[in-house]
Symmetry: C2
Subunit: 229 residues, 2 copies
């Protein structure tokens, strides 16, 4: 889908691209046309030299004194991340989390669509979640093949996550996003990303403890979107 | 609660402490007693010098040739993050995501307990979620005060997130974890952390696109827990 020669982007820089993208989407919503590396850096809580370096992997360098065009930079990052196509996704686990993800507007808006939801709980099979009828996990491989699915989400309890991962791998899924608080073993070549729902809570508890100890620490960091009123 | 003099930890280092903690918990489960900065660095996908620097903010330096004691380092990070106490949490939004979070084992295991869940949907009020009876959002302030709550979670749809944030701020909550895909305006001094449920999906789509283009990129990065089989 890409029309640029592809280089390998270092993992750390890659991890920041979705953060820049989110900032650019917000700026676009506010009709901001241009953004400097300094502004982007401040909003992403990294330094400006790092922003310029990260964006240079996309072959984009901004214009001195003007910065980057918001819409074009958004397009470039989306293209680099493969978001100029819509990715079909399957979700394993039709409990509350699976249902929340299937209905989550932030997923569909970002170029993903849920084509299958599976569970092994008979009481869930046949119900409709996020517009998709829940099927038995035994049908996972046929869904993955008929819908050309590359990415699967594990939204099961921790004790069933490995089983879910094994089923996804057997079905031929190459990338797994794991919401269960557990470490998965997968064959080499399968990508696993873990989403730790409690990670940000741990950072908040640090700030609350610091606040209680009389040291006011106002966070300025990555993922923070504190706005001064 | 802390018995060490408190320094301000840089935001980037702070963001890595929960990642080290998760790795240490996994190592502890496997009965690993010692870990070198190189091993920690590899598992967290940062370089060893950065690990040593990050941990030096805790006043801990490891032992040359031996590394760090897993259990003691776990204790030090937990203490630094304020996780040696249990933090009462309220959740605004008793839909699928709120229910999933209230029931999520990974939250209770990490030193947080849900003391209140509120919603404005009359059909949800009075139901029991994660062991807590859902109350009307008008009761938020009295829950926050009676349970000494400092941290609130927003698990509403995007269009209700600002209203939820305003209610939390009015109730006196100082730290907010926002799951809604929207930017919140809060007064200075209120900490907001955003959890972007689609961020990791965007990184997976990069790898899948790269794979499809014939360039095999095996991720080695932060948050990845790919295991070679």
């Amino acid at each position: 889908m890409s029309d640029s020669p592809r280089r390998r982007i270092p993992e750390a820089a890659l991890g920041r691209l979705p953060i820049y993208l989110r900032i650019l989407v917000d700026l676009g919503t506010e009709n901001v046309a241009q953004v400097s590396s300094e502004q982007l850096a401040e909003l992403a809580a990294v330094n400006a030299a790092k922003v310029r370096k990260d964006l240079s992997y996309l072959g984009t360098y901004g214009t001195r004194g003007v910065g980057y065009e918001v819409q074009f930079l958004m397009y470039q990052i989306q293209r680099e991340l493969g978001l100029n196509q819509s990715w079909p996704i399957v979700i394993v686990g039709a409990g509350n989390l699976g249902q929340a993800l299937a209905n989550f507007s932030g997923i569909a808006e970002r170029g993903f669509h849920i084509v299958g939801v599976v569970d092994k709980d008979e009481s869930k099979i046949g119900t409709v979640v996020g517009g998709v009828r829940v099927k038995h996990v035994d049908e996972l491989a046929s869904i993955v093949q008929s819908k050309a699915v590359n990415i699967g989400i594990i939204a099961t309890p921790a004790q069933h996550a490995q089983e879910a991962a094994d089923a996804l791998v057997r079905a031929g899924v190459g990338s797994i996003m794991n919401f269960a608080p557990t470490v998965l073993a997968v064959p080499r070549g399968v990508n696993v990303r873990k989403v730790d729902l409690a990670l940000e809570l741990q950072i908040l508890s640090y700030y609350e403890q610091t606040r209680n100890n009389g040291l006011r620490a106002v966070p300025t960091g990555e993922h923070s979107d504190s706005v001064s009123a």
